[in-house]
Subunit: 201 residues, 2 copies
């Protein structure tokens, strides 16, 4: 079956978002990253900061006060934690998106959420520490923590979040249709490969 | 740095060997699979059956009597198990090969053994159970055990062997430069992608 949807999971600093954005542009399909956050905020009533920090990472803060906008119409926890509710809302949004249009979806365990659909192509982008360290310093600047520490922290939080909600290991080849080392293969070549696979009959 | 050597690790029945063979043919470089076994037999003095069964899989038999040819000049264990000795010999052969010529090397933890060289491109091929089951029945015929059981057994033995000798998880994306689901992408397209990457400057 021809693929309609591409999900991209990625290590922090591996250019996964840039690759996804360029693939979507070249294929003329929607790119869901910030727009996905907006949809999840609308669906769940959680605020943007909470969705951004807890939709892909193991939590560093908790509590309803932090999670909810002052104007939220949220009605109760029904025994679920805030992160479980976010997962549920995020899952609903991604399942609906996949029904509605061909698109590229960045992160948020979309590979797992859509694993039973045969029209999705699942991608994981990673790269060596040096490549990623240089990239995050160029993109986000220097911080008190070394780039290596920032990368390890972010990877660990994504890994724990993925394992908790999917029961699978983050980065295992068998969870994806292709995984690419963007540092070795090159960002442009990664784009070419994905566009080419998507366009084959 | 331009890549000279391609290592291919693979799930049983995923067409990893066929892909490797065709990539080598198209690139005009040597393909090491059976020839690698021959070299390891020459290097170690172990017999072919022992090298084939224990060079990639966790052992099912053991003992020097089984491992050695009657004419072997092997002089003693020096405290190493036969599988440790095989690992050592296999490692030496692969390191020498990498020094000597551009080539495709199938299996035998070559990705790990050559991980510190920058002129190697590391590939992992996998596929869904149904694709692989159909393929091994076509290639090797029916057996008493179901193809699914045969696949699970072989995968488990490779996984345990890889973990034991490398300390890494078999199939983790980060150990490879590319991983491909041959059932989804197609065997020919996998060949095209690898040839294309090898040929880029």
């Amino acid at each position: 079956m021809k693929k309609r949807i591409i999900t991209i999971s990625r290590e922090f600093g591996s250019a996964g978002r840039s690759i996804g954005k360029e693939v979507a542009r070249r294929l003329g399909i929607h790119y869901y990253d910030r727009d996905l956050v907006t949809k999840i905020v609308e669906q769940t009533g959680f605020n943007t900061e909470f969705v951004e920090e807890n939709g892909e990472f193991s939590p560093t803060k908790s509590g309803l006060y932090y999670a909810l906008e002052p104007h939220s119409t949220f009605g109760g926890t029904y025994g679920l934690s805030t992160t479980d509710m976010l997962w549920q809302g995020q899952r609903d949004v991604i399942l609906k998106l996949a029904e509605s249009e061909p698109c590229v979806i960045i992160g948020r365990c979309a590979d797992y959420i859509l694993k039973d659909r045969t029209d999705c192509f699942h991608v994981f982008i990673h790269a060596d520490m040096d490549f990623r360290a240089e990239r995050i310093v160029n993109l986000y600047g220097e911080r008190d923590d070394s780039p290596q520490k920032r990368l390890k922290d972010q990877d660990k939080k994504r890994q724990v979040h993925y394992k908790h909600f999917t029961g699978q290991e983050w980065g295992m080849a068998q969870n994806y249709d292709i995984t690419l080392n963007s540092g070795v293969i090159g960002v442009e070549k990664c784009v070419d490969i994905l566009v080419d696979i998507y366009q084959q009959d």
